[in-house]
């Protein structure tokens, strides 16, 4: 059987899997960004009551494996009365894991804004919330976009693990096709190529574009 015949026969399943992977990617990315922003800001607080929960969250999710977190959320959390459907458990685990890494990027991005900017906002008597939202965050955002590009690739790769709790994503379909056809190179190879295309031809170019747009907006380019 040629590779083209293989694709003709199983292409539909790869497509289905890719769509699920894309869904997992966008949902977990949205979650990760939201969590990163909140936890990153909390970690910068002077108030220990605000800072500590963020530090604990970040250390736990960065200190353990995504797979452990995924299994814990899917298999153990129901014992505490929180039962998540597998699709939800999947993107929640990935989003929370990468959100912890993102929080560090947010923190670093904010700290990279020169001190003079804080002082100038202070000299205009801006309130702390306004200062953060209007002056510091826009500049921090531009600084942290490049590492966020890498983080989103990690996030995309992380979504492959949801196949292990039987979410029918690209990875899952590849495994199924491998199990029924024993054409491992074709099955896994195709999945690898699709992930690669997703990362290199969609995610990375999008982030590059965003970087230029933001740089222009901030008047740097």
């Amino acid at each position: 059987m040629s590779y083209w015949e293989f694709l003709a026969e199983h292409g539909g399943r790869f497509l289905d899997g890719t769509l699920i992977t894309a869904g997992q990617f966008f949902l977990s990315a949205a979650l990760a960004i939201a969590i990163a922003l909140v936890a990153g800001l909390m970690k910068l607080s002077d108030n220990a009551l605000i800072r500590t929960p963020a530090v604990v969250y970040i250390e736990i999710f960065r200190g353990t494996s995504l797979l452990v977190q995924l299994y814990w959320i899917f298999f153990v959390l129901p014992l505490f009365g929180i039962t998540l459907e597998k699709f939800t458990a999947g993107f929640v685990a990935v989003g929370m894991n990468l959100g912890a890494y993102g929080a560090e990027l947010v923190r670093g991005g904010i700290q990279s804004v020169p001190k003079g900017q804080w002082e100038a906002a202070y000299a205009l008597s801006m309130s702390p919330a306004r200062r953060m939202w209007r002056i510091i965050l826009p500049q921090a955002l531009v600084n942290m976009l490049p590492p966020w590009g890498n983080l989103l690739i990690e996030l995309l790769k992380g979504t492959a693990l949801v196949s292990l709790i039987s979410v029918a994503d690209l990875m899952f379909e590849a495994k199924q096709i491998n199990g029924s056809t024993f054409l491992s190179a074709q099955a896994f190879g195709t999945a690898l190529i699709i992930y690669y295309i997703f990362a290199r031809l969609i995610v990375t170019p999008f982030m590059r574009w965003l970087e230029t747009v933001m740089a222009r907006k901030i008047g740097k380019a």
């Binding site: 020169p114 003079g116 900017q117 002082e119 100038a120 906002a121 202070y122 000299a123 205009l124 008597s125 801006m126 309130s127 702390p128 306004r130 209007r134 002056i135 826009p138 500049q139 531009v142 907006k217 901030i218 008047g219 740097k220």
Partner: protein, 270 residues
């Protein structure tokens, strides 16, 4: 704990100073930068602060705007700045009180600190709109007028990265003025500039002094400029005022050895 009851709750009277430092002490850790400073600046007065680096001259301005003090009280326009009145006594000011109390003070920095993600006009409008609550039209009118005054109305839609250092500093002055401050702090505003553009910034400051009767405190290394436009010059040394007086006297006939040494060292460096 120092006894705060020795300080009045507010200053009144028609001749009260615009800015008043009373026994102000500032320390960084164990290092005392300013020691029991007493300094009054009258309304509309232009005071230049000079001195060697490490003399505490920049700290004088930063305490009015950015930093807490360890002793004494500072008053602005009669009201305590570093402290607030609670139950008839002075207590250290809360962040919220400080922010309001500092509204009548504007500041310009050595490195301009313009917001890079905003145009010149947006930089000037930011404070009036966000802090003073002006409508966008009012803020725009006010900002355009000020940008015109500093000679940069044609650059209003440019981002700071497109402007020269001198232009950026003029925008920064306009931005500070847009808040309608009663006191302006100028912290080495020409020190980071190329020599050929210093003139355009000092020209704007001259205009402020001549036409606006603003109270100005200026830290500077440019002795000629200070001599030219100041009502009074304070020479700082070791965290205190070593000598002060009208520029003609301080530059023309300094009384203290340290003042003479400093002035001759600066002169020979020129």
């Amino acid at each position: 704990m120092e006894d705060l009851s020795q300080f009045p709750l507010e200053l009144d009277g028609a001749d009260r100073p615009m800015v008043s430092f009373r026994k102000v002490t500032k320390r960084y850790g164990s290092l005392t930068v300013l020691d029991n400073l007493d300094l009054d600046v009258a309304e509309g007065e232009m005071v230049s602060i000079i001195g060697p680096s490490g003399s505490g001259k920049t700290t004088v301005l930063r305490m009015l705007m950015l930093e807490r003090i360890q002793g004494g009280v500072i008053y602005v326009d009669g009201q305590p700045l570093t402290h607030e009145v609670r139950d008839g006594a002075l207590v250290p000011a809360s962040e919220r009180y400080l922010r309001r109390a500092r509204e009548p003070i504007g500041m310009c920095f050595q490195h301009f600190n313009l917001f890079p993600h905003m145009t010149a006009l947006q930089n000037c409008m930011e404070g009036p709109v966000q802090v003073l609550g002006l409508s966008r039209q009012e803020a725009r009118a006010r900002s355009e007028e000020l940008l015109d005054m500093v000679g940069l109305i044609d650059k209003k839609d440019q981002h700071p990265s497109r402007l020269s250092g001198g232009q950026q500093q003029r925008v920064a002055i306009a931005r500070a003025l847009a808040m309608r401050p009663k006191v302006m702090l100028l912290d080495e505003v020409t020190s980071a500039l190329d020599p050929e553009v210093i003139g355009e910034v000092t020209e704007v400051i001259r205009k402020l002094v001549r036409e606006h009767r603003l109270t100005i405190m200026m830290v500077t290394h440019q002795m000629g400029f200070a001599a030219d436009i100041s009502d009074r010059v304070c020479f700082f040394y070791g965290g205190r005022i070593e000598e002060q007086g009208p520029p003609s006297e301080l530059f023309g006939n300094p009384q203290k050895d340290r003042t003479r040494q400093f002035l001759s060292a600066v002169k020979s460096a020129d």
